[in-house]
């Protein structure tokens, strides 16, 4: 099992011009903990919408790489968006599900993945080009490569420990997060 903070930090090493959308709750804190960046679009709400934001961005910017980092709860709530992404087949979109099989923000209640519901299987059934589960930190460099050059759509289910880690809270003014992201994207 992975330490979520170590894993996300590894994924975002040398991120360059990677565009990152993070799902509400712990995924946003993990991305912030790896280092604040203007090309992070942090979500603090809109549960279930993270992957679709990634799709809209990937379609708008086909020459850039888009990484969605989110939790299993958010991905389950937006599970239909995997089918929608499968229809559009964006080559530049990768989704990393930080899967601890629990709802961390609300008191660690078990999620569907705890009962064996398999997001990798769902993604493959939705015609993702590649989907797999990982649980060792040694796999992080391979996943990082996939984020930057793997043919999408792809989904990685990263099995992380259930540990409750300290919150790292990034900016939460949505207008400011948006404007900073757009300005950075247009200048890069």
């Amino acid at each position: 099992m992975l330490d979520r903070r170590d894993f996300v930090r590894e994924l975002l090493i040398g991120r360059g011009d990677l565009l990152v959308v993070s799902g509400l709750g712990s995924a946003t804190y993990d991305v912030a903990a790896a280092g604040d960046h203007p090309l992070n679009f942090y979500l603090w709400g809109a549960m279930g919408g993270t992957a679709m934001i990634g799709l809209g961005l990937a379609l708008a910017r086909p020459q850039r790489r888009v990484a969605v980092l989110t939790g299993d709860g958010d991905m389950l709530m937006g599970i239909g968006s995997l089918a929608t992404i499968g229809v559009k087949q964006p080559k530049n979109l990768a989704i990393v599900v930080l899967d601890n099989a629990h709802y961390g923000e609300t008191g660690m209640q078990a999620s569907h993945t705890k009962s064996g519901i398999d997001l990798v299987g769902v993604a493959l059934a939705c015609r993702f080009k590649q989907a797999r589960a990982i649980s060792r930190i040694q796999d992080a460099p391979d996943v990082r490569k996939l984020l930057h050059s793997g043919e999408g759509p792809l989904l990685i289910s990263a099995r992380i420990k259930e540990d409750d880690v300290p919150r790292v809270l990034p900016m939460r003014d949505g207008h400011a997060i948006k404007q900073r992201f757009i300005a950075a994207l247009n200048s890069a």
Binding site: G56, S81, L185
Partner: protein
């Protein structure tokens, strides 16, 4: 614009209004259109599908479209959403994304559950659709007359994208025609 598109159109639907909306999409540079298949929107959907400048994104549920709008806007593209009034209810929490971040958005809603509705199951959501949208922060414009579509949709698109506002057009059942139940 494609020369000829073969669309099933009930006899009391005037086909001109979807074309007027599509021309406004072209004028303001809509680049993504999210939709759940809908009879009232069928011609507009086909016009968008046939346009290589527009990415048409078929959704499993309308709320996915709200995320699409946000992502496209982050990437510098304008998006319109097409849905039926029942779909508005599926979006309510996700609409907060548009308000929280100020994403300009145009939504076209074909109304059910009002004038001439055959199916009473459509009525509860249709009756509250406009109120729900107002409470969710949208400017709402109701369109009954096909001759006003071009003007209203054009003005609304400018407000939405020049001012990062959320604008919705309610296309009434008088405009789109009643669903044909006997065939």
């Amino acid at each position: 614009m494609p020369a000829e598109i073969n669309v099933h159109t009930p006899t009391d639907i005037k086909p001109s209004w979807p074309d007027a909306i599509y021309r406004q999409f072209q004028r303001v540079g809509i680049r993504q259109v999210g939709y759940v298949p809908d009879a009232g929107h069928s011609r507009l959907i086909q016009l968008c599908q046939a346009d290589n400048a527009i990415a048409d994104v078929v959704l499993t549920t309308e709320e996915e479209g709200v995320g699409l709008v946000a992502g496209a806007a982050l990437g510098g593209q304008r998006t319109a959403l097409l849905m039926q009034s029942s779909g508005v209810g599926n979006c309510i929490n996700m609409f907060s994304l548009l308000r929280n971040c100020g994403f300009g958005c145009v939504v076209l809603v074909t109304m059910r559950g009002e004038f001439g509705e055959f199916n009473p199951w459509q009525v509860p959501m249709g009756a509250i659709t406009e109120d729900v949208l107002r409470l969710s922060g949208f400017l709402t414009y109701r369109i009954d007359d096909p001759d006003t579509v071009d003007d209203l949709v054009g003005a609304g698109c400018d407000m939405a994208f020049d001012g990062n506002l959320q604008v919705v057009f309610l296309l009434s059942q008088r405009l789109i025609g009643r669903k044909q139940w006997v065939r």
